[in-house]
Subunit: 196 residues, 2 copies
DNA sequence: ACCTGAACACCGTTCAAGT
DNA sequence: ACCTGAACACCGTTCAAGT
């Protein structure tokens, strides 16, 4: 009597995550996931309406984890130091879970039919918005938030998609590069905040 | 006698592009592409080794077009003005061809088996690298290039994936936002270039 | 060279049925 | 409630055959 009271759902998600990481989103099939979990090809429909719904659940878990990581990074820090910690935490998530990150921000999952996804995604944005609010004057605030998000997202996405030159394969070098890039943007914000 | 001497290849790519834009990369099937082009489900194999090879060809065309657009943007401009033009041109490409852009930088296409893809992609990077070279001191050059790429890529990707708040749906507002964001990064570069 | 039709092993999804 | 097996309409890919 395997998978009573809801364990199957977790087992299916675990199998889906494993497939996603090992073989990419296109290879996540409900039938394969069922096979890995040891149930019939049809059992997953008790927990997910469709293949897309399972992918959406994996992405939602990712947004949830990202939101938590960012809230923790923000806690107990202020000003530019908080902003830096948020950037590092965001990118760290993408480095730790590249496949999930690419799913969260990729076209293989059409997000419109899953409004819960959007809501969870907005939490991370909100944390970033508040951090920027305290260090940038009102006029440039919107561009500052969008720019900060775009910068960390761009770094994260390029890293997850292996688009960087091979000299950054070593973790330490990548760490240093990320710090330098964030510093450039921070200086741009600081200068914009100065009177001119 | 339709599709003699190589026209079929173009017709298949056109059908693939149309499917990609209308229904996403997962819906681009060789059989559907063949149907649209009016040939048997097997005819595409004369021109593409696999479904992935057709997607790779669409992505390669995208990188090619992006490279050309960036070279044109760089031409006749220097310094920060050239850098700005490159950023705008890069983002303009993503706005004009969001589906292709997402394919170029997404996981539904595993790029390793298509080395030609990587080569074409590096052309755009090279144009950016040269533009940065003329305005930033050697020490911070690497971070400046990666950061510039990450920033425009992040903006492009978030726009293509519809992740921005709805107030930027209007083209003009989005144009202004992009200019402001690029300006922040430019100021960061300028400050980094100053003696301190 | 380029195209076709049959075939195979996969999918997602639905349905009727079992406990 | 949760699971199963049969069924349907799709895929990608291969093969033997036609012009």
């Amino acid at each position: 009597m395997p998978y009573h009271h809801g364990d199957l759902r977790r087992a299916l998600l675990a199998a889906g995550l494993s497939l996603l990481e090992k073989r990419g989103p296109a290879q996540v099939s409900l039938r394969e996931v069922a096979r890995v979990a040891g149930v019939s090809h049809n059992a997953p429909y008790r927990h997910f309406d469709s293949r897309e719904a399972l992918l959406a659940a994996l992405a939602a878990d990712g947004f949830e984890a990202l939101g938590v990581a960012m809230e923790q990074a923000a806690e107990g820090r202020t000003g530019f130091e908080r902003l830096r910690a948020l950037g590092i935490a965001y990118i760290a998530f993408a480095r730790a879970q590249p496949a999930v990150y690419l799913l969260m921000f990729g076209p293989e999952l059409v997000k419109d039919p899953f409004p819960a996804l959007k809501a969870v995604a907005e939490r991370s944005f909100e944390v970033l918005r508040q951090a920027i609010e305290t260090i940038v004057p009102v006029e440039t605030r919107r561009a500052a938030v969008i720019g900060a998000w775009a910068l960390v997202h761009g770094l994260s996405h390029l890293i997850a998609d292996h688009q960087f030159p091979p000299d950054f394969a070593e973790e330490d070098k990548l760490d240093a590069l990320i710090e330098d890039v964030l510093a450039i943007y921070r200086q741009g914000l600081a200068r914009g905040a100065e009177p001119h």
